[in-house]
């Protein structure tokens, strides 16, 4: 009787070790959220691009002048190679302001991140704009 119980205990112990060991093996080989890291990187790049372009009121001026092609050109230069973007400009009532698409390629269907940035025009009657920049890795 004791021999049978003892054997079952030993088998249980082996099974427990096997379960724990396999769990350790599987978790050690799991990537540490690579997609989250890439998305974080993309969001950081996008936010920084908008902040830099906004320095000195340049970006706000381009929006007031409705120079959508100029904004696209600036983003083309500032954003790294391989990043797709789509920028939408809203006014204070969250109505879309840009009459043309500001994008280098379509981010639809890609794993994309969205960055929002608020800026003010440096004009006599101050206008506020909300910028929504969607970014995705091309390819």
């Amino acid at each position: 009787m004791f021999d049978q119980r003892g054997q079952i205990r030993i088998i249980e112990a082996f099974l427990s070790i096997a379960v724990v060991f396999s769990a350790v093996l599987v978790s050690a080989n799991l990537p540490s959220s690579p997609n989250l890291s890439r998305q974080h990187s993309l969001a950081s790049i996008g936010a920084q691009a908008l902040v830099e372009l906004d320095a000195g009121g340049t970006l706000a001026n381009l929006i007031v002048q409705q120079d959508w092609a100029g904004i696209k050109q600036a983003l083309d230069v500032i954003l790294p190679l391989g990043v797709s973007f789509n920028l939408t400009v809203f006014n204070e009532e969250m109505q879309q302001v840009n009459s043309q698409l500001i994008q280098n390629s379509n981010v639809l269907g890609r794993e994309a991140v969205s960055v929002q940035h608020v800026l003010a025009s440096q004009t006599l009657s101050v206008k506020f704009f909300v910028l929504r920049l969607q970014l995705g890795w091309a390819g």
């Binding site: 974080h40 050109q73 500032i78």
Partner: protein, 324 residues
């Protein structure tokens, strides 16, 4: 940042590496003006300009001291010690956000002067960048300015005229400013012979080392004579004042300018009968310092940043990876 700097248990965490890449660009280092002194070795490493209210504004001198062509260079091992994170190796690249290339197309002589025409291309990895251009030609004590532009296809021409009463090595310096944003700039220079043989490559006669608004020119031969020292930006040009003169060394004052443009300094002169025209940019770019990660295994992260140096924007690419 403290956990990312010291906690080795997270050495393979991409989040930690990502935070450290921006740490290098957002911190001033210690002392916070370590870039300005020719001999100061920082006790902690950071490239940000002291007192700046703009994020990712880098110090012109700190960046310049990363360039291997500058005699006041800090070696990678010194920088690594100053960073103080033993399990991390790094590489930093700083360059213009787009490229400018110059190629000669034709020359014609008429009315006692020769007009040289060059194709100028402004692009970012094949994508055209429409720009406004300013070109300067320098030869001996003569210099001349011209303006032009590149089209939406990123191609333009610059023409410069030089009197035939002079001869020697001429230098064409071209600045490009993106039409969309005046802080986006690129530059390049092209040396050519005017009624003289093709010039010897730049750096053959002098070593030019800008730092802390002083240009140190080390003359590589006792027979080298400087005839002219000039400063150029997108909007301005003027002669440099001599600060000091030593044995095979001359130093010039470099004034602070508000122009959103890199500064290019050009020296012309002679070594015996051979004329030369040499130049350097301030900040001294492009540069690359640090470890080559090409064959490295393990976690590595590369992050690109838009940085401001002296009111103009550049690209800084920081790569970090584990050393063990």
């Amino acid at each position: 940042m403290a956990p990312y700097l010291s906690d080795l248990s997270h050495r393979n965490d991409p989040e930690r590496l990502q935070q450290l890449t921006s740490h290098l660009l957002l911190q001033t280092g210690t002392p916070d003006n370590w870039g300005q002194s020719r001999i100061t070795v920082p006790t902690s490493f950071g490239l940000a300009r002291a007192g700046s209210s703009i994020p990712y504004e880098l110090d012109t001198d700190k960046v310049t001291r990363l360039n291997s062509a500058n005699i006041y260079l800090l070696s990678y091992s010194t920088l690594w010690e100053a960073l103080g994170i033993k399990d991390i190796a790094f590489r930093i690249e700083v360059r213009t956000l787009f490229d400018l290339s110059i190629s000669p197309t034709s020359d014609s002589t008429q009315g006692g002067q020769t007009t040289y025409t060059f194709d100028v291309t402004t692009e970012k990895t094949g994508m055209p960048v429409p720009t406004n251009l300013t070109g300067y030609v320098v030869i001996g004590t003569y210099s001349n300015k011209t303006s032009s532009s590149t089209s939406s296809s990123g191609v333009g021409t610059v023409s410069v005229s030089i009197p035939n009463s002079i001869n020697g090595t001429a230098l064409l310096i071209v600045f490009a400013r993106a039409k969309a944003n005046s802080q986006l700039v690129a530059f390049n220079a092209y040396a050519f012979g005017h009624q003289s043989p093709t010039p010897i490559s730049s750096g053959s006669f002098t070593s030019l080392n800008p730092l802390n608004h002083v240009l140190n020119a080390s003359l590589l031969y006792p027979s080298v004579v400087i005839s002219n020292a000039q400063l150029f930006t997108f909007s301005y040009s003027f002669g440099l004042d001599l600060k000091a003169q030593g044995v095979q060394t001359q130093e010039y004052y470099v004034p602070s300018l508000l122009d959103a443009s890199p500064v290019i300094m050009a020296l012309t002169g002679y070594n015996g009968s051979t004329s030369f025209a040499e130049w350097v940019s301030y900040p001294q770019l492009p540069l690359k310092v640090g470890v080559d990660f090409e064959n490295t295994e393990g976690t590595m992260i590369t992050q690109s940043y838009v940085v401001t140096i002296g009111s103009a924007m550049y690209e800084a690419i920081v790569t970090l990876g584990g050393t063990v």
